[in-house]
């Protein structure tokens, strides 16, 4: 075992390398590109016995990934944002084919307007695709989760593709110290690829992904995917335990920080949750009893673990780094569905922030905590809030003013030419 300074992207590449993947269909997109560049360099230097092919789109990339998986090899791929959306038709297919591939998604806000920095509307667009989702907060977690993802995907009771998600820029381009598992121990943990009955061979022809006629047949296969995804909950727990035993790092389906005895809690996913962690420490210092609850698994949804983690809290703030237009925060909706009708369910407040890489400041966490305290005192659920500061609005007004001045000057100039 050795310690390296790795970016989130570097950690993802190491995860693929240590999982002994056979095949990597690729397509560049910011902020994911460093992953495939790193893998390409290793393959080019004969440090990694895998084959990489650059497709002409993410749609083709995910098709090739799933088709190769259906032929009987271990497959890794990675994408972001628009790429995920471009390929999403084939994500549904990959899950329907029950191909156990692993894809790292480096979260980035969706167009329009086009942007580069992170939020979770990309990965949440794939929420219902049948891909399982593991969300990471640190570079170490990205590497370890990739190993865990292969075990989970390939488990005989699961056999579904898995996304390992990390935030673009904040994690993908941030160097953190990462313990690199010994390659032999990692290989032992992940195991050899077992294609089971999923393969194409001359001696054993098979038809895969064939059409069905009628809702009964269709429903049968769709229910199978859902039930397999639900089974992945207990399977995940066992794999996380085993990982802990072998490597000494424990990744429960729901991560909690100072929340056991807390009256209040923040609920967040991915690496912005580390900002919440810091806020928890400061709030605790000032005497507010608050903690953090971070679902690592989004699919399957760890309902029971979330109920246990949030039961008895006075009020909970779900801070969503995504926005379902006309509804609100998506994680908020999911948490609400887990808590509805439960004894001891807390008041549940919704905050949306961190879209397109927008920061969530310590001050905002303090305000959210204050809002929770007030809600608890009055026993009223506060209305959902979109985080935005006066300074930001002022910044926008400045940009608009510049745009107007520029346009007026241009029009004045054109007017003087015409006259």
């Amino acid at each position: 075992m050795s310690r390296l300074l790795l970016t989130g992207n570097g950690a993802a590449a190491w995860g693929a390398r240590l999982s002994n993947v056979d095949y990597i269909p690729a397509f560049p997109i910011t902020p994911q590109t460093e992953i495939i560049e790193t893998l390409a360099a290793w393959i080019g230097n004969n440090e990694m016995p895998s084959r990489m092919v650059t497709l002409e789109s993410e749609h083709s990339m995910i098709t090739a990934a799933a088709a190769a998986s259906a032929t009987g090899v271990r497959v890794f791929t990675a994408t972001s944002s628009q790429g995920l959306l471009y390929g999403i038709e084939m994500m549904y297919n990959a899950a329907g084919w029950r191909t156990p591939l692993v894809m790292v998604n480096v979260s980035r806000g969706l167009s329009a307007p086009i942007t580069l920095e992170p939020d979770h509307n990309d990965v949440l667009a794939a929420r219902d695709s049948g891909f399982l989702q593991i969300h990471c907060a640190t570079c170490q977690e990205v590497l370890d989760s990739t190993l865990i993802a292969y075990r989970l995907a390939e488990h005989e009771r699961v056999r579904l593709p898995v996304i390992v998600n990390q935030d673009g820029f904040y994690l993908s381009f941030t160097r953190e110290p990462v313990e690199l598992p010994d390659s032999k121990l990692a290989a032992e943990f992940v195991g050899d690829y077992n294609a089971e009955n999923m393969r194409f061979r001359a001696s054993s022809p098979s038809s895969q992904a064939v059409a069905v006629i009628g809702g009964g047949t269709y429903s049968y296969f769709r229910y199978e995917i859902h039930l397999a995804a639900l089974q992945a909950l207990t399977v995940y727990d066992a794999i996380a335990e085993e990982f802990n035993e072998r490597f000494g790092r424990y990744y429960p389906a729901v991560d909690t920080y100072r929340s056991d005895d807390a009256e209040f809690a923040f609920v967040m996913m991915d690496c912005y949750a580390t900002k919440a962690k810091d806020a928890v420490d400061r709030l605790r210092d000032s005497g507010i009893s608050i903690g953090l609850v971070r679902p690592r698994l989004l699919r399957p949804f760890p309902e029971l673990a979330l109920q246990n983690a949030l039961r008895g809290k006075k009020a909970v703030a779900v801070i969503d780094q995504n926005l379902s237009m006309g509804k609100g925060g998506i994680l908020h909706t999911e948490i609400a569905s887990a808590l509805y009708g439960q004894n001891g369910a807390p008041l549940l407040a919704s905050f949306v922030g961190g879209l397109g890489g927008r920061d969530i400041s310590a001050e905002e966490f303090y305000q959210i905590a204050a809002a929770l305290k007030e809600a608890a005192q009055q026993n009223i659920t506060p209305p959902p809030r979109l985080l935005y500061t006066e300074a930001e609005l002022r910044g926008i007004r400045k940009l608009q003013a510049i745009a107007h001045v520029e346009r007026e000057e241009l029009q004045a100039r054109q007017g003087s030419h015409e006259s």
């Binding site: 497709l55 749609h59 990339m61 098709t63 084939m90 059409a211 006629i213």
Partner: protein, 309 residues
């Protein structure tokens, strides 16, 4: 599998490999071509399929294929071929599969995918020199959804989205030329009604490595509006009128494999199909028929020039 060199009709395989009783329409020209192709390709094949009529060939739990099959999506059947070919190569390389388990990777799509939605994925496979055989059954429209016009629909044909007095205003895209321009291993046009020409080309294509296209015109009784019993006759007419030139591209050269000595007038072909009925009823549209004839004539003029005659 017989590997005898096919020269005459009697050399064609007498054992037919594709199962019967499929959900294709009676008289499907695409299925006719596929039967003939499959007899020669054989069962050591894996097909990747795009959304289209033939998607229904393999409907759970039935298949007419003796070999393997993977349905992908309308835009990406060639990318499915890429994934399978790469995976088979990896398994061979790493000795995780015996060489005799290897498969010929085949993509099977209609014209909607081959000429349109799947063209980007197709282009990528040619760039990467993927070793696969692409079969397009071209029935000149989105047949499975009720024959709306596609990029392969011929000028003036009526389709369910070109019902106006003049039919389809656009022109059939030259997919053969698009492939050939990118220097693939092999490209050929075929038609089920010319089984010997088809068999020779499939036998040749089977032995070549790299990206290969077999473009089969697929007379379509439901889409083109004619009695299914005429599919073969209409196929022959497509060749005899010069509307569907039988040709192949290899080593940078295009060779016509059957040059009709005396081309029949195009109206012999047009008048057999309801989609061109407006060219003859209520009165003969001599101008439009003349235009179509002129374009066919112009094509064969360029062929004569190429051959230096």
């Amino acid at each position: 599998m017989t590997e005898k060199f096919i020269k005459r009709m009697k050399d064609l395989p007498s054992t037919h490999l594709l199962g019967t009783g499929t959900p294709m329409c009676a008289g499907c020209g695409g299925l006719q071509a596929l039967h003939e192709i499959y007899d020669i390709l054989g069962e050591n094949t894996v097909f990747t399929n795009a959304a289209g009529c033939m998607t229904l060939l393999a409907s759970y739990p039935f298949t007419p294929f003796r070999g393997s099959w993977l349905y992908t999506a309308m835009a990406s059947a060639p990318a499915g071929a890429q994934g399978i070919r790469d995976a088979l190569d990896i398994l061979l390389e790493k000795k995780r599969m015996p060489p005799e388990d290897d498969l010929q990777v085949v993509t099977l799509t209609g014209d909607g995918s081959a000429y349109g939605m799947g063209l980007s994925a197709t282009s990528g496979t040619i760039d990467r020199q993927l070793d696969y055989l692409y079969i397009c059954y071209d029935n000149e429209g989105y047949g499975n959804t009720g024959q709306q016009f596609s990029e392969a629909t011929p000028h003036a044909a009526k389709t369910s989205t070109s019902k106006g007095a003049r039919g389809f205003p656009g022109f059939k895209k030259d997919l053969f030329a698009i492939w050939a321009a990118n220097k693939p291993a092999y490209v050929a046009t075929v038609i089920g009604a010319e089984p010997l020409d088809l068999a020779k080309k499939i036998q040749k294509a089977k032995a070549i490595k790299g990206p290969r296209l077999i473009l089969a015109l697929a007379p379509c009784p439901t889409g083109w509006d004619y009695d299914p019993k005429y599919s073969n006759d209409i196929g022959k007419l497509a060749v005899d009128t010069g509307i569907w030139p039988l040709k192949e591209y290899e080593n940078g050269k295009v060779i016509h494999t059957k040059i009709p000595r005396q081309r029949a007038p195009v109206e012999d072909y047009l008048k057999t199909q309801g989609r061109f009925k407006h060219l003859f009823h209520p009165e003969r549209d001599a101008k439009m028929i003349g235009e179509i004839q002129a374009r066919v004539d112009a094509y064969w003029e360029t062929i004569r020039d190429e051959n230096g005659n």
